[in-house]
């Protein structure tokens, strides 16, 4: 077992990336994810890797495209406004079927917004963000330990399915310090015969490209990609359930919101209300089936978010609007308190005839 260390979430991402073979990082500083870049700047030169602070986010994401096309593990990280800048490049990566890990440590928006935590890039992350038909696998960590684990899994998933993966954290996750044990990737190394590594005059040359002026060809590329997405929806959906089996009220939340929700669920149980928590770990694919199953027994759902109500749409779609869903949220850098979530649970319990 590895020795425990005390790390910030941002540092855990960086060290975990290094531990699973990432030797190329291209980025641009922005609060609250700057420690990822700072850590990479310190570590990469010592291990023969490349840290490069680009002149802009747009330059950084295009460097990621180049490195990924050459078949190597590469990542970039930013916070909300910077991810908007990178979105063109992310769409190109999806179109070129290039793997990479993209980290978004979200801050309040829109626009320049603020520097405190937020989850208001949920739509951007799960609906694409850039143009065209594509998905990212979106992973939502809820602890520093998970920041490390999901970073490693993110690289593995990106290579396995040849697509960009987003680690969607928030300012709290990035800045908080917790003990963490770093584990190495256990996934099998994925061969990349498509990569631009030089033909050595022994094979036809590879092409990495998202452009096709032949409509039926472009249609078939999209069709092939969506077949892969269907496999991912079937195989890679992840979630955590807490006290859901007999729950009348289920609180749905990811990341920091899930930690707050868990405390509120414990408080509700202590007050005699049958509450449970459902935490999506993959935001795309959203754990639709698992949540829908809960609609058979639960009476109401509450979506806890640091946004004006984005994930709530996926909750409603997942349970096919069979039960009422209410929103408990704070925005602008504010975090819902356990008391606020508890008040929402009590209100839902009162509506459904439970104890309140």
């Amino acid at each position: 077992m590895a020795q425990k260390v005390l790390m910030k979430g941002n540092e855990a991402i960086a060290e975990a990336a290094i531990s699973c073979g990432c030797r190329h990082y291209f980025g641009y500083p922005i609060t609250p994810q700057t420690e990822v870049a700072a850590y990479m700047a310190k570590r990469m030169p010592k291990i023969g890797g490349t840290f490069l602070q680009a002149e802009s986010e747009i330059a950084a994401v295009n460097m990621v495209i180049g490195a990924s096309a050459a078949g190597i593990r590469v990542m970039t990280s930013s916070s909300s406004p910077g991810i908007s800048l990178k979105s063109e490049g992310i769409s190109y990566m999806a179109g070129c079927d290039l793997p990479a890990l993209i980290v978004n440590v979200q801050r309040g928006g829109p626009g320049l917004g603020g520097i405190q935590p937020s989850q208001s890039d949920y739509f951007q992350a799960t609906r694409g963000g850039g143009h065209g038909d594509y998905h990212l696998i979106v992973l939502a960590p809820a602890s520093v330990q998970e920041m490390a684990q999901l970073t490693v899994q993110g690289f593995d998933l990106a290579d396995k399915y040849r697509m960009p993966v987003m680690l969607l954290a928030d300012g709290t996750m990035g800045q908080m310090m917790e003990p963490v044990e770093l584990a190495e990737s256990t996934a099998e190394k994925v061969e990349k015969p498509w990569a631009l590594t030089g033909t050595g005059m022994k094979r036809p040359h590879n092409i990495v490209n998202s452009l096709s002026l032949t409509p039926d060809e472009l249609e078939s590329w999209n069709g092939e990609r969506y077949k892969r997405y269907a496999v991912i929806e079937k195989e890679e959906t992840r979630y955590e359930e807490y006290l859901c089996d007999d729950a009348d009220i289920i609180v749905v939340g990811f990341g920091i919101a899930a930690r707050v929700a868990k405390n509120a669920v414990d408080a509700a149980r202590a007050a005699g209300i049958k509450a449970g928590m459902f935490r999506p770990i993959t935001l795309w694919p959203f754990p639709k089936e698992a949540l829908h199953k809960r609609a058979a027994t639960a009476k109401e759902f509450i979506s806890v978010e640091l946004s004006m109500g984005q994930m709530i749409e996926d909750v409603e779609l997942a349970i096919r609007c069979e039960r009422p869903v209410s929103l408990c949220s704070r925005v602008g850098g504010m975090i819902p308190s356990p008391a606020e979530v508890l008040a929402s649970i009590k209100a839902a319990a009162a509506r459904t005839g439970g104890n309140a």
Partner: protein, 244 residues
Amino acid sequence: MLRNIKDSGFPLPSPRARVTLFCGHYGSGKSTVALSFAQLLRENNPEAEVALADLDIVNPYFRTADSGDLMAEMGVRLIASGFANSNVDVPAMPESAYRITEDKKLRVVIDVGGDDRGALALGRYAPALVSENDYEMAAVVNAYRPLTGNLRDLLDVIGEIETACGIRVTGIINCSNLGSETTVDDIIRGGELAEAAARELGVPVLFTAARRALCPELIKRLPEGSAVLPLDHTISHGGIANNG
């Protein structure tokens, strides 16, 4: 409620210098140590004015300035940027920081920013502090921080800090911790790195800082004559939490 440190019965550090600076790798516990140290200074000097200066202008997320209410309760004056904790990401120095060097009656604890980048801002006060020569420059060490987890890396970071601010480290503090999971064993093991750094730099280990609940067991395990600073507060996101 503040818990008294002076009469806690632990073998406490004995602050001598007018100005005590806490520097080190970010996330090592500088701000937490600075808070408790300022409280002890206040309790030891009921007549003197005590100030805690937050010179961490790099990271707007965690800093002493978040603990304004607590310091008011302690009776410790806060010297911090007007922009601190205001969501304005501006690395500005507080104008009141001139009191650190100008007001020789003031007892000051300085929370230096993390790493060399954080220590850079201290540079402008360094010539006055060095010529007055009534300061202690303490490097806070947490052996469980990955970038300062071995002697070579730790000495590199301390050297970078000294270069950035122009003040030599005069003592080491063992603040080895794994957050809320810290055990006395962890602190003792981390102390070996602090001792090694102290030997290498030719300075003493000034004290060991640990959560108060761990201190009774800790003092039994430390060598005779070691000082311990009990920590009652945690700097965390959005302010401080009292963890008793």
